[in-house]
Amino acid sequence: MDTVDLARALFGSSLGFHIIYATIGVGVPLMIIIAEVMYIIKKDKDYALMAKRWTKGFAILLAVAIASGTIVGVLMSLLFPGFMEIVGQVIALPFQIEIFAFLIEAVFMSIYLYAADRLPAWMRLVSIISVAIGAVGSAILITDAHAWMNTPAGFEMTANGEVINVDPWAAFFNPSFFVTATHVAVSAYMTVAFLIGSIAGLRLLRSSISSEERKYHQKSFMIAVYLGAFMSLATAINGHETAQMLHEYNPRKLAAAEGLFETTDYAPLSIGGWTSREKEEVLYAIEIPYALSFLAGDRFDTEVKGLNEYPEELWPPLYVHTLFNVMVGIGSVLIALSLFAIFWRHVLKKDWPGWVLALFVAGGPLALIGIEAGWCFSCIGRQPYTIVNVLKTADAATKANNVGVLFVLFISLYVVLLFVTVFVMSFYFKRNPVQKELEQRGV
């Protein structure tokens, strides 16, 4: 691999690592708020314990989120200096404001963790709400920079590559900012809801737990099911708007996502399959007639642009079709699963059987795969550009040697950290099982 490819691989894998912890960092504070509020409303001590245990897990994972975030933040400047040169002139604001979001999160997280016992209940709630705002704020702001890369705005470029007429706020409020930021926020909440569902489901599947512990897990499972249903619906509805945004601003990416080569109206939607360059179609796919046109423009006769409108060197890799399908597929499956669970409980009025719980155990990991697939689709689907129609990735990347050495070192670090976090989490929660904490609470 040459330096450019190494830089892309290193940066992409670092982001793929960061996003696991970052998503959890965005979602868990909301779960803690819900538990704290339920405790205030229902005066049920189980919810207080829930908030406490989630906070513990959060504190462990947050360390990795912050460390890996520091890595990606610095690596971006090191590996893509050509990109940062334009960022610094045009879209520096979200990066800058993000720092304040980080500070708010960091300050109030310490307060919530280490000063909770010295604070009145309302101050505790204010602290954790501030943490949640800081976390989702940082996600929204970084997504702003990402949205701007997809739909650049707020500057002009002269023929010799000089940036002029900069309007920092026009860049900030670029066309895809709101819809993309919403998608990122709701998909993070959805993911964490399903992760909590996985954990609760796993515990509930055990026959050996006490009835006290069973009740505890049922409550957290309930929160997961409802929040998961709501957020996965919101993700899909908003994802639909995101796709329409692509249709308007970045039809090349949409065409690659759908494996569409010829521009047509009444375009069909291909689900699954594999895009073939030679045959110029998606092989082995299920085709839904007219559906793509309808998705893109709410009308069956909407004209959807195909890849052949563009020279081939401007096509993104065709496998992004699969990445897109994985994301949408997982979204659909999880909506179905959570709505089904609600139906079972409230219409059929029955307890969830083991196989529903087992399906939920898979839900959390699936949602995380959805996040990874969605991001990789978005970033790889942007290729060969780093800033669409403005800056090619090859011109953005560093010219330094030695990227290969760093690549090996960083990947090893991530692998080790993945194992160590799993180990630390399971060690901690094995040492402090729910049962023990429920019993301690009694005395």
Partner: protein
């Protein structure tokens, strides 16, 4: 003042803040490791009590420094990024190990020692790596290859300046953190920790001073421009030495209530000591970011961006100041936290 000069002053102030916070943070980690096994003193507990709530905030300042650099000076990223890829990349790996292991150590008592030693040692290596960047900017370690700068690792690693800078960074880290923890231990009313840290402060202070002066003498011939400029900024360095002496003497003065040392005032004097030195060094370094390839006006962003960033800083900081005050009260002043068993 010229806009690029305002920008570099803000950036340099962030560097100053981070060098203070970072020294406390990494230094406390180190002391926490050294006294972790020692049952006779609470020195380790005091260090960790300071570290637990503050490391996140300190880390954000590091990110702030990087973001401010690339947003104020976007045209500097290309050169700095290429030159510093390896040292900063290694620094990031160490920082990650340190941050995560430090937090993990709180949760897994069984492996706490191993994790603490790792995070304590990486806490020494990181500042060493970070200060080794300074000599790179002085000139003499860069060669141009097809129009792109490359770092001459062999020359850098065999130069005595590099090692003097590293020694200076390490002694500063340990001196600042020991002094601060002396004061924090007093606040906590912990006599044994107080004596331990005061003892370390007393030998580290003069050592740091000697190393600082020696570092200037090892500057390579390529850096003679800087040495000349330092000669013209003697006022700042003189003030720095004066505040060091004041701070150091304050450690020995008896208070009316019989305690030895005005530790709080000593901390302030030493912060001023470093403040004067860092700003004097910074102005001696001007107008170069990397000698002789890059000046601050080469790197500077456009004025429209600059003013929006300035406004964002003012608004952001005014929101955050109350939060910081609350933070200070809860963790550095509140006796219930500071003194807990």
């Amino acid at each position: 003042m010229e806009e690029s000069l305002i920008a570099v002053t803000i950036l340099w102030s962030f560097l100053f803040v981070y060098s203070m916070l970072g020294s406390l943070d990494f230094g406390s980690g180190f002391w926490g490791m050294v006294y972790g096994k020692n049952k006779n003193t609470n020195a380790s507990a005091i260090a960790n009590r300071f570290l637990s709530p503050t490391w996140e905030v300190t880390n954000v300042f590091l990110v702030l420094l990087v973001v401010a650099l690339v947003s104020f000076f976007p045209f500097a990223t290309s050169m700095l990024g290429t030159l510093l890829l390896v040292p900063i990349g290694l620094g990031l790996i160490l920082l990650t190990i340190r941050t995560t292991f430090m937090v993990f150590a709180h949760h897994v008592q069984k492996f706490g020692d191993m994790l603490r030693v790792t995070s304590g040692l990486t806490g020494l290596l990181i500042p060493a790596l970070l200060v080794s960047i300074l000599p790179i900017t002085l000139g003499g370690f860069i060669e141009m290859e097809n129009g792109y700068p490359q770092l001459m690792y062999g020359k850098l690693l065999s130069s005595s300046t590099t090692y003097m800078h590293i020694l200076f960074g390490l002694s500063t880290e340990l001196f600042l953190s020991a002094l601060f923890l002396t004061d924090y231990a007093r606040e906590a009313g912990d006599q044994s920790a107080f004596r331990t840290y005061r003892m370390h402060t007393i030998w580290l202070g003069p050592l740091t001073m000697v190393i600082a002066v020696l570092t200037i003498f090892t500057m390579p011939s390529e850096a003679s421009w800087l040495v000349d400029n330092v000669g013209e900024n003697l006022y700042g360095f003189g003030m720095s030495i004066a505040f060091f002496l004041i701070g150091y003497i304050l450690l020995f003065v008896k208070k009316p209530n019989g305690e030895v040392g005005y530790t709080r005032w000593a901390v302030i004097a030493v912060i001023l000591q470093y403040g004067f030195a860092i700003y004097a060094y910074g102005s001696a370094h001007l107008p170069y970011m990397v000698y002789p390839h890059l000046t601050i006006s080469d790197g500077f962003t456009n004025p429209a961006m600059f003013y929006q960033l300035l406004i964002a800083y003012i608004i952001g900081l005014s929101i955050l100041v109350p939060a910081f005050i609350l933070f200070w009260r809860l963790f550095l002043k509140d006796k219930r936290y500071v003194k807990q068993e």
